[in-house]
């Protein structure tokens, strides 16, 4: 695998629920080390594409390669080694409700690494600090956390194995603007330091402007545009014009 080859390579993906076709021959490349912002109208299938790549939603046609491994042709151990290298932040956090924050973050470590309890505890604290939480949070249960804290803990869990690739499904929704700004900053920092590739589904214009290197737009089951924020603003597509030149966009751009 050459450094130029994309980390995620999606070709002609078609996903159908009953008779509704959600994704229709979709192609997408995510390059190594970039932060890809993925936008589109609500219900266009952004989360469906994410879940299809991760393997939670079955597709009826097409192929998906992650880290150069064709996920359909791979065996269990290949798949596991791919899974060990990605982290997923679900929209609702999806923390294990019967485990404490500390146990949640250590769960993937216990499974995949042979690390002493002391180091796991210290790394847990490091991850919590990185996502901007206090160490006291570690012994709390998910039901005792606020929505924003759940997001942060879920990110800490997604990052617990220092993955090469993270999927973030609307990471900044439900965070206050300052928290969301910190979050974008954090994603940027992690991307710089760890060479992380980020696939971010978002509605947050701030994130698109400050965090993302490239933006892909989903519409009618296909990628209707992909490129830098300048390309998006120059696009004549009606939805893009509305999205990037609407009232909120103007406010963000100042």
């Amino acid at each position: 695998m050459t450094p130029e080859s994309p980390i995620i390579r999606v070709r002609d993906i078609t996903v159908q629920f009953g008779t509704t076709r959600v994704l229709d021959g979709l192609n997408l490349d995510v390059k190594r080390g970039e932060i890809l912002g993925f936008v589109g109208p609500s219900g266009a299938g952004k989360s469906v594409l994410t879940r299809t790549i991760i393997g939670l939603v079955p597709k009826i046609a097409g192929s998906i390669e992650v880290f150069g491994v064709d996920l359909d042709a791979s065996n269990t151990s290949q798949r596991r080694s791919v899974e060990r290298r990605w982290g997923v932040l679900f929209q609702q956090g999806a923390l294990f409700s019967s485990l404490t924050v500390r146990q949640n973050i250590q769960f993937p470590m216990r499974e995949y690494l042979r690390v002493s309890q002391r180091l796991m505890d210290e790394i847990t604290m490091a991850k919590l600090t990185m996502v901007g939480l206090k160490p006291e949070v570690a012994e709390r249960f998910p039901s005792e956390l606020s929505g924003g804290m759940i997001k942060r803990v879920a990110l800490a869990r997604a990052l617990s194995l220092d993955p090469d690739l993270v999927f973030l499904d609307e990471p900044t929704s439900g965070l206050d603007p300052i928290g969301a700004g910190d979050f974008d900053e954090l994603v940027r920092t992690l991307q710089r330091t760890l060479g992380l590739t980020v696939f971010m589904v978002t509605h947050d214009l701030d994130s698109l402007y400050t965090a993302c290197d490239r933006i892909a737009v989903l519409g009618n089951g296909k990628i209707i545009a992909a490129g830098s924020i300048a390309d998006m603003q120059a696009s004549q597509h009606p939805w893009l014009r509305q999205y990037f030149h609407g009232k909120r966009a103007r406010a963000v751009m100042g």
């Binding site: 294990f96 019967s98 002493s116 604290m125 991850k127 990185m130 570690a138 220092d162 330091t193």
Partner: protein
Amino acid sequence: MSGDPKLERIAKGNALALCATGTWTASFAPVLERMVADAEKLAGGSQNIFIDVSRVGKLDTFGAWLIERLRRSLTQGAVETQIAGLSANYASLVDEVRRVRATPVIESSTITITGMLEQIGRAVAGVAGTVAGLIDMLGAVLAAGFRILIHPRSFRLTSTVHHLEQVCWRAVPIVVLITFLIGCIIAQQGIFHFRRFGADIFVVDMLGVLVLREIGVLLVAIMVAGRSGSAYTAELGSMKMREEIDALRTMGFDPIEVLVLPRMLALVLALPILAFLGAMAALYGGGLVAWLYGGVDPEAFLLRLRDAISIDHFIVGIVKAPVMAAVIGIVACVEGLAVQGSAESLGQHTTASVVKGIFFVIVMDGVFAIFFASIGM
């Protein structure tokens, strides 16, 4: 510059450089921890120590933290051990890690005798709370029922019918099958043992009295507690977890009226029907075995049954059914509404719902037995 990680000691004048090389990532964590622990022993020496990371090939949070851990333990008094040769790529990661505060407090979870005694004590003291909770729910349901009587329009007929289908109609096959089999077994055992005294025909008396008074309703109540009580608890519990019940409250609905009352009513109607069907199935099964296995032909069976039982036996059985249904329903709803945020809590309360439901059903059966004996039924 990648490969197995190493931590070499290189003397430079009066200073000692700890040169980290290779891949400092999570996969090498055990090796790294050992190396760092070895190097930590150098602390307190007279030498001036610094850590050189210029030749580290790959660094992740695990590696960065271990370097930070080493730095902290080598740091003596006011003189801070420096990290040299940090590339721009990794500088921010090391800075992040430097902000991490000391090790967490791990709560000890040792099992002590006093702790066990405390748990037993709490459980016993909790019994009163359980009973109070049940009475509280009974009161709330009755109050909601009276409100419905005054304002019949707010009664949720659709919901009640839906639950009636779930707990009654859909339960018929399994209830009939199980009671049929129990009827067969009672008759077979009866015939097998009574035959030695030449009292085959008395098996009909035993079957009739046992099924109509006790087994029919008790067995069906236990099945309903397991089948529908658990479902009620799980439904209400997951609604509680997702704040659906709070949402109802804020919209001005009473969860008891909307959720609990239709379920209770459905159960109170369903259990007598199921108990009747179950009793008939058990009698049919018993009669079949008596005929095929014991040689008591259907005509003789029916004649004997007519002599052996009276309407009293049937009434004694069927009167218990709605009361048991109410007990099961109240226990299930109390447990459902007591569910906390976690999946584990949902499991615990569903278990508690079935266990307590069956327990109270049997207690009620005992109370009824004393009552009917004292009024001579």
